[in-house]
C-alpha cells in the first residue's frame, strides 16, 4: 500500500503532569477526509499544533509527504504543504479580507524580499486571492477589514487563508465553532466541495457534520486514539459509545 500522506507515530506531549498527547498514532491517506473527534480537552487542538509545528513534541515522530518533519519549524512545514485553520479565529484584523488572503498567497510565491513594487497592485497575488475568497463565499466582502466581518464570515476567512497556500493537507480545527445552524450548513457544503480536492484532517464537534463528511474517524480521549474507522464502524464501536458518544447529551 502507498505511504500515507501524514503519519503520526506514537506521539507524546506533556504539559507538566498532564499528558495531552499520549502515544498517539494516526495516518491520513491521500485525498481522504479524516475526522478527529473527542470530548473537550482530549488534545485535538494540541495535535494540530504539533502537526503544524507550533508545539514541540516530547516523543514520537511525524512524517509528512516523505519527510520527517518532527523537528522542522512551522514555516518549513507550511512550505512542504501543511496548512491549518484556528479554532479561535486568528486573522489580520486590521487588514482587508483580500489582504489577509493575498498574504497567504504571497507566502507561497517565492521570497518576500521585494521592496519596491506595490503588492496591492500585483495581479499574481490579488487574482488568486479573489478566487479563494469567491470559493468560500466571501467574494463581495473582499474589501472589508477582517476585524469588521461577522463571526461566520471570519470563520470562512480562516479557511480561505489556509486554502490560499494550496496545501497538500488541510488541518481544520473546529471550523464550525460558534456558528449558527444555517452558517454551519453552508460550511458543510463548502467542506463537501473541498473534499477530494484536498486531503483534510478535520476536527469538529458537530457530530452530524462529521458523520456526513468523513471517510474515516479517529476518536481521541485523554490524548489517546481509542478507535479509528469508517463512520459506521465508529458508530457501532462499543468503546466509543461508552467513552464519548454516550455523553452526547451535555
Amino acid at each position: 500500500m502507498a505511504e500515507p500522506l501524514l503519519a503520526v507515530e506514537s506521539l507524546v506531549k506533556r504539559f507538566g503532569g498532564l499528558v495531552a498527547t499520549d502515544h498517539l498514532s494516526l495516518a491520513v491517506e491521500p485525498a481522504e477526509l479524516h475526522a478527529v473527534i473527542g470530548p473537550n480537552g482530549a488534545g485535538k487542538t494540541t495535535l494540530i499544533a504539533e502537526i503544524i509545528g507550533e508545539l514541540g513534541v516530547d516523543e514520537g515522530r511525524i512524517r509528512f509527504d516523505g519527510h520527517d518533519i518532527t523537528h522542522r519549524p512551522t514555516p518549513v512545514r507550511s512550505a512542504l504543504g501543511l496548512a491549518r485553520s484556528f479554532q479561535v479565529t486568528s486573522l489580520f484584523p486590521d487588514m482587508s479580507a483580500l489582504d489577509n488572503v493575498a498574504l497567504a498567497v504571497q507566502a507561497h510565491s517565492g521570497h518576500s524580499f521585494r521592496f519596491w513594487r506595490d503588492a496591492r497592485a500585483d495581479a499574481s497575488l490579488r487574482d488568486p486571492a479573489h478566487d479563494v475568497l469567491a470559493q468560500v463565499g466571501l467574494g463581495p466582502r473582499a474589501d472589508v477589514l477582517a476585524g469588521n466581518l461577522a463571526h461566520g464570515e471570519q470563520r470562512q476567512l480562516e479557511i480561505a487563508m489556509a486554502l490560499a497556500t494550496k496545501p497538500k493537507l488541510l488541518l481544520l480545527d473546529e471550523p464550525m465553532a460558534g456558528m449558527g445552524t444555517e452558517e454551519s450548513a453552508q460550511l458543510v457544503t463548502l467542506l463537501k466541495s473541498l473534499k477530494r480536492r484536498f486531503t483534510i484532517l478535520l476536527i469538529e464537534h458537530d457530530m452530524d457534520a462529521v458523520f456526513q463528511l468523513a471517510d474515516r474517524i479517529t476518536v481521541l480521549v485523554y490524548g489517546r486514539a481509542i478507535a479509528t474507522g469508517t463512520p459506521d464502524a465508529i458508530r457501532a464501536n462499543a468503546d466509543v459509545r461508552q467513552a464519548y458518544l454516550g455523553e452526547e447529551e451535555e
Binding site: 518549513v76 507550511s78 486568528s90 484584523p93 486590521d94 498574504l103 521585494r114 477589514l145
Partner: protein, 323 residues
C-alpha cells in the same frame, strides 16, 4: 493609503519647508531658522526610520538613538583621524549602522513585548556609555569636527543653505523609499507580523528574517540621520545616544501618528518647535510639554497627521492596537 487630502498636506508641507531659506530672509534670524529647520528634518528622518519598525512592524524599539550615535560617531571618528572625505565617511556610517543593527536586532528580536523594549534600551545605553568612555574622541564632552564631510567634485556642504537642501533631498528620498517599502511585498510581511505573527508563521512566513531585515533597514536610515546630525553641528557627543533621545524620537512618531510615515515628520517639527518655544519662556518647559503630549495622545489617537483627514478612518472593532 495616501488619500488626496493627505497628499495635498504632504506636498504643501514639503513645499513650505523648501521655502524656509527664502522665508527666513524676510523674518530675520536667517542662520538660526535654516539650522533649526535642518535639525527638524534630520530628526524627521530618524523618526520616519523608527516608524518603519514601530508603526508598521509593531517593534517597540526604545533604543533607536543608538543608531543616531553610530552614524554620528562614524563621521566624527573618521574626521578626527584625518579622513574628511564624505565618500568614505557616509558609506562607513551606513555600514556601521547596518552591522550594529543586525547584531542588536538578532538578539532583541528573539524576545517579545516588554523584553524587546528593555533589551533595545539596554543596548543603546551600552553604546551611550561606550561613547562616554571614548576619551580619545571627546568622552563625555563630545568632540568638535574640523569641518563637514567633503565630497570633492560633487558638492560643497559647508554652506548652511546647501546643506539644508541636501538634507531635504535625503528626507524626501527616505519618505519615498519608505512609502514604497511599506506597500511592497516586504512591507505587507512586516505589517502582517505586527498584526498576527503566529498566523504569519502558520501560512508559511519565516518571520524572524523579515523582522531582522526591517530592523536593519530602519537602523541604517537612522544612522544616516546621525551622520547628517554630526555634519549639521560639526559636533558629536554621547548625548545623542542617551535613552531620553530615544524617547524623544518615539514621542515624535507617536505625536505625529504611528504607521503613517509622514506623521513622524510632523511629530519631529511639532516637538522641536514646542521645545524651542517653551524653553525660551521657562526653565520648567518639560513640565508643560508633558501634559501637552498627554492631551495629544488622548484626543488625537492617530497623531497630528490623523487630524488632517478628521474622520477616524475605519478601524476594526475590538482591535487592541499594536503589541
Amino acid at each position: 493609503m495616501l488619500t488626496n487630502r493627505r497628499f495635498v498636506a504632504v506636498a504643501s508641507f514639503l513645499v513650505l519647508l523648501a521655502l524656509v531659506p527664502l522665508l527666513a530672509r524676510f523674518v530675520g534670524g536667517e542662520a538660526f531658522w535654516i539650522k533649526f529647520a535642518t535639525r527638524v528634518m534630520i530628526y524627521a528622518i530618524a523618526a520616519v526610520s523608527l516608524d518603519l519598525i514601530l508603526g508598521f512592524g509593531g517593534m517597540v524599539s526604545f533604543g533607536h538613538a543608538a543608531f543616531l550615535g553610530v552614524g554620528a560617531y562614524a563621521v566624527g571618528i573618521l574626521s578626527a583621524e584625518g579622513i574628511a572625505n564624505g565618500f568614505v565617511q557616509w558609506p562607513v556610517a551606513i555600514l556601521a549602522s547596518a552591522l550594529i543593527a543586525a547584531a542588536i536586532g538578532a538578539i532583541s528580536l528573539m524576545t517579545r513585548g516588554v523584553y524587546f523594549i528593555m533589551i533595545t534600551l539596554a543596548f543603546s545605553q551600552m553604546l551611550y556609555f561606550l561613547g562616554v568612555s571614548l576619551t580619545a574622541y571627546g568622552g563625555d564632552d563630545g568632540m568638535r569636527l574640523a569641518n563637514r564631510s567633503r565630497f570633492p567634485g560633487l558638492i560643497d556642504l559647508s554652506g548652511d543653505v546647501t546643506f539644508f537642501y541636501v538634507v531635504l533631498a535625503i528626507l524626501i528620498g527616505a519618505l519615498v523609499a519608505g512609502h514604497r517599502l511599506v506597500n511592497s511585498r516586504f512591507g505587507m510581511v512586516i505589517q502582517g507580523c505586527r498584526s498576527n505573527e503566529r498566523r504569519m508563521r502558520a501560512i508559511g512566513f519565516p518571520t524572524f528574517r523579515y523582522k531582522l531585515a526591517a530592523f536593519v533597514i530602519s537602523g541604517v536610515m537612522c544612522g544616516i540621520a546621525g551622520a547628517l546630525l554630526a555634519n549639521l553641528t560639526a559636533f558629536v557627543s554621547p548625548s545623542e545616544m542617551h535613552w531620553t533621545r530615544s524617547g524623544e524620537i518615539m514621542v515624535m512618531v507617536i505625536m505625529g501618528g504611528m504607521g503613517s510615515l509622514f506623521g513622524p515628520v510632523l511629530g519631529a517639527a511639532g516637538l522641536l518647535v514646542l521645545e524651542e518655544i517653551l524653553s525660551s519662556h521657562t526653565q520648567h518647559w518639560q513640565a508643560i510639554l508633558g501634559p501637552i503630549l498627554v492631551l495629544l495622545v488622548l484626543f488625537a489617537k492617530r497623531g497630528l497627521f490623523g487630524l488632517i483627514d478628521g474622520k477616524s478612518a475605519e478601524k476594526p472593532a475590538g482591535l487592541t492596537g499594536h503589541g
